[in-house]
Symmetry: C2
Subunit: 339 residues, 2 copies
């Protein structure tokens, strides 16, 4: 059905080798011959079959990407980075959605392994041991997870948390709740680390709540708990939770940012669309996707480098409208009289 290299060869009256070379090693074939070949190929609509090439060269030009959930904006942004970068370097991507299931994660990389040059694992949920088993199957790069021995692109989650905390502290907040996400989250641990490290210097007391599901519902659930603890600001695990918090707070009649400040994490699209736009720390998800495929491809070139490459991407606090100075305490010396 589809047109092969043989038909082009026949059409251009050359051997298949020449056709092949015309595409992959242009300088090796006579300019006139090449022109002819390319022209015939164009007319016939020939597209090389990369699978066949992969068989002989060992390089397929495909890369695998597995995400826990494509419908999650955090991951779809990452995925977008991967596909965009892959296209730039003339690769195509195999996608697998693991449906948040560690077993599926392992299974799909096995299924893809033979057809790709390597796979990028976004926030893999699986155990280190399982991960270990996958290495050797095919080259791997991790995103948003740090496992000894594996190349990874990481985001400075801890630093983001620090920025958020300092921002809040500078506004005058002294008692801040942190709503944790899933216990197993690497990024979550990092954030907590950053928070704990920065808290003393900022002279703030953190109230650690959770874990909660990293969803809108998780946020509404957490809001009440935070409120009961008498904090003036809330740091949510991610934007989805933060939006849940915002909603619950509105429902209970507490004003944001007047009564309480809220900051999210990730900066998904939605964050700028809430009725009062969300202050959040931006994670460079798309950049992470791009970096991951670069790392993967570089790693394939340079087999030699002993220690696994890792790329750190900066995070940045985006101040919007859900943060403000806390209401002055009634008896406080600093209470502003006028106004």
């Amino acid at each position: 059905m589809a047109v092969t290299i043989h038909e082009v060869a026949k059409g251009a009256e050359v051997s298949v080798s020449t056709v092949s070379r015309a595409f992959t090693m242009p300088e090796m074939v006579n300019a006139a011959t090449r022109r002819k070949v390319l022209q015939v190929a164009e007319e016939l609509g020939y597209q090389p079959n990369r699978a066949a090439r992969g068989l002989v060269t060992g390089k397929t030009g495909n890369i695998g990407v597995v995400v826990p959930d494509v419908a999650n904006p955090f991951f779809s942004a990452m995925l977008k980075g991967c596909t965009a970068r892959a296209r730039e370097v003339r690769h195509v991507v195999f996608l697998a959605d693991a449906a948040e299931d560690p077993r599926i994660e392992a299974e799909v990389v096995g299924a893809m392994a033979k057809q790709v040059d390597g796979v990028v694992l976004c926030s893999p949920r699986m155990e280190p041991a399982q991960l270990e088993r996958l290495v050797g199957t095919t080259p791997i790069v991790l995103v948003n997870r740090d496992e000894a021995g594996l190349p990874a692109v990481l985001m400075e989650s801890a630093d983001g948390a620090r920025q958020a905390l300092e921002h809040l502290a500078a506004l005058g907040h002294r008692r801040i709740a942190h709503l944790a996400g899933p216990a197993a989250s690497w990024a979550g641990e990092e954030r907590l680390r950053g928070l704990r490290a920065a808290a003393p210097a900022c002279d703030v007391e953190t109230v650690e709540l959770g874990p909660f599901p990293p969803t809108f519902q998780g946020g509404v659930q957490a809001a009440d708990l935070a409120l009961a603890r008498g904090v003036t600001a809330i740091l949510a695990f991610n934007d989805l939770m933060a939006v849940g918090v915002l909603n619950r707070l509105a429902a209970r009649g507490v004003a944001v940012p007047e009564d309480i400040s809220v900051v999210g994490y990730d900066d998904i699209e939605m964050s700028s669309m809430t009725t009062v736009p969300l202050t959040t720390v931006r994670m460079p998800m798309e950049a992470a996707g791009r970096a991951a495929v670069d790392l993967l491809l570089d790693g394939l070139e340079a087999r030699d480098s002993p220690e696994p490459a890792r790329r750190w991407l900066p995070t940045q606090l985006i101040v919007r409208s859900t943060t403000a100075p806390p209401r002055p305490e009634p008896g406080s010396a600093h209470a502003q009289a006028g106004r």
Copy 2:
């Protein structure tokens, strides 16, 4: 590097043919032999190389999916449906993000064509002529677009618009704005068709505005125009626009749903998370993705059927909190005195 059928054959002391058959035509090989083969394969961690199989059988077990923008929740939901269904039928998906560019769309299906059994094109932006050219390259099924001669899965957009309109009419609205999306959108045309068909029967006057970009910004821009036209309700092209409308309305001090009703379209995740949850018509995006891969695979089986298959999926109005009866007109006979 990777373990091939040959090593399994050696390990199980049989020929490669037998190993191959043990996997693909189990009933043809002796039960004991098969057990042995499967066991050795398991031990060695053998995974068949589907690319090689594809070369000889012409069926790769891969399907291509191209979307205009993975980061768009509408498409990521569709994509999720595709990947989920593909996994169930033991296929893997090749993903391409066309970045909303018709040229890229055409290009990527060309690039994938040889490696997949067919491709599903989600809301393709390209011209009918271009589309035509692609047919013949590889089997294709369309989603959310109706082009003569091609199998497609379609959503009853017109009916969704009808439901929304009737809902609004039943609440008492008589003058309703419709905010159109991109002019080239098939779904948009369908909706308009449904709207126009239903309006007379409902005794409502529609004010057709647009086209606008189908985004948050498009919505804020459109809101002012709608307001100026003195409507009591707004039907937006999609939820993103509706959220933009909501925001702009809030900023201008008009209360939703008291002063004006708003209904969106699509029912993306975000719709239920706005401070006042959005009334919208639900598009079965994930179901559409699943249906698309089914249609594609069925089409491959039954080459014979002459007329292209098409699957229509129902849409459904989801009433949440942005719709309510309009404020009674000051001089109206029906104005409620008490209260």
